[in-house]
Amino acid sequence: MALQAGANGLPFTPVIGLLNSDYMKINPDFNVMKDPFSDNEYVVVPPIIPDVAVIHAFKGDSFGNVITDSFRNDRLLAMAARKTIAVIEELVDPDEVLPGKHGVFVSMAHIDAVVEAPRGAHPTACRDAYDIDIAHISMYMQAAKNDADFKSYLEKYIVGPADHNEYLELVGCEVPQ
């Protein structure tokens, strides 16, 4: 709801819930207001306006129009953020990125940069394109258990590869030509 407020330029928004929880003690942003219409009390919060949002999309054009997964709120994020970077699986012609066909259309009005990165969601899944890499996720979870192993993981897979293709090669994915 706070992102929704950000996307719509609202000064604050009521949210459902929170009233009887300890969230009211730890977050000074949560305030209580009386609804002038029903006289019920609700919690109100300020809008969330991220400086930068990074979203992952199935495809996009060089102008910044992209098609994202309906399971995610990528359009909402793009609309709320000051700047949005769209990572796309495939760079296509503008004619292939139209609203109202498949997927969720996010207009270039909300996108600041497009990065083409096939299998860019690895090791997580990109629906209909490829599945989650369970072996890699398991290895990551193991590595995340202590600082030394996690550091080695970062060095090998994140800092090590010179570019995206080198990463794909390292994790055993097919490297696009």
Binding site: G17, L18, S21, D22, S70, R72, N73
Partner: protein, 243 residues
């Protein structure tokens, strides 16, 4: 796995599935393989007309992610939801955020605020926990993410109905405003449950039954069609339970 051995999580799935009524709008959130399996099992048995909303299921065709999901809940359109917790007290207050002082926690979990909205706005919520011990069921919780019920909030819609653990089925007693023991799983006595719970479950002088045995039909469906559907949403969980 030995054909005859039933995993505690399998028992939990069957027990939860029996609590689901036909025609209900039933939703499961993230990291909820046990309720998701229970939903599928209920759908294949007594509740063919339930409306399933398994978050992460490719068959759930919504177009606006969590925003749409939360919107449905906030409008009071979800009948049954599922939550877990790291601490629960006798009154049914639950903690999903932090162990210890919130600002200097021994353990910190991600998120949890959505659970407060869900428990207030779903008609009823069933808790599932992966363990049953006095660290989970405590006299006093460290952080209140939500309460079992609250008569002071006019727009609140729902409350906790049951809690399912690897040992037993607990229920929330509205008149006592407390969690009480409903029935135990095979091989577990009310005494064992009491010893593993950090508060009184009102077992003295009450006859606590064992759950009805899991039928071959339930087990076959669970290890067949349910597993197949669940594999598409929770492959790691399926591999852990069924190999």
């Amino acid at each position: 796995m030995n054909e005859k051995q039933i995993h505690p999580f399998e028992t939990m799935i069957v027990v939860i599935s029996r609590l689901i009524d036909n025609g209900e709008v039933v939703a499961t959130g993230t990291l909820s393989p046990i309720p998701a399996a229970a939903l599928f099992l209920a759908q294949m048995r007594q509740a063919p007309d339930l409306v399933p909303m398994v978050y992460g299921d490719p068959d759930m065709r919504i177009t606006d992610g969590l925003l749409e999901f939360f919107g449905l809940a906030q409008r009071g359109m979800i009948d049954l939801f599922f939550l877990s917790a790291i601490q629960i007290d006798r009154k049914g207050n639950f903690n999903l955020s932090a162990i210890g002082d919130y600002n200097r926690p021994k353990l910190r979990l991600p998120g949890g605020a959505g659970s407060n909205m869900m428990i207030m706005m779903a008609k009823r919520t069933i808790f599932f926990t992966l363990m049953h011990n006095p660290k989970l069921f405590v006299p006093q919780i460290d952080f209140i993410n939500g309460t079992a019920q609250d008569s002071t909030i006019a727009w609140r819609r729902g409350s906790i109905s049951h809690l399912v653990t690897p040992l037993c089925l607990l229920k929330y007693d509205q008149s006592k405003e407390a969690i009480v023991l409903d029935s135990t799983f095979p091989g577990t006595t009310p005494q064992t449950v009491a010893e593993n719970t950090g508060f009184d479950l009102d077992i003295t002088g009450r006859d606590i039954p064992e759950i009805d045995p899991i039928t071959q039909e339930e087990l076959d469906l669970l290890r067949g069609d349910v597993k197949e559907k669940l594999m598409r949403v929770y492959p790691l969980f399926c591999t852990m339970i069924w190999g």
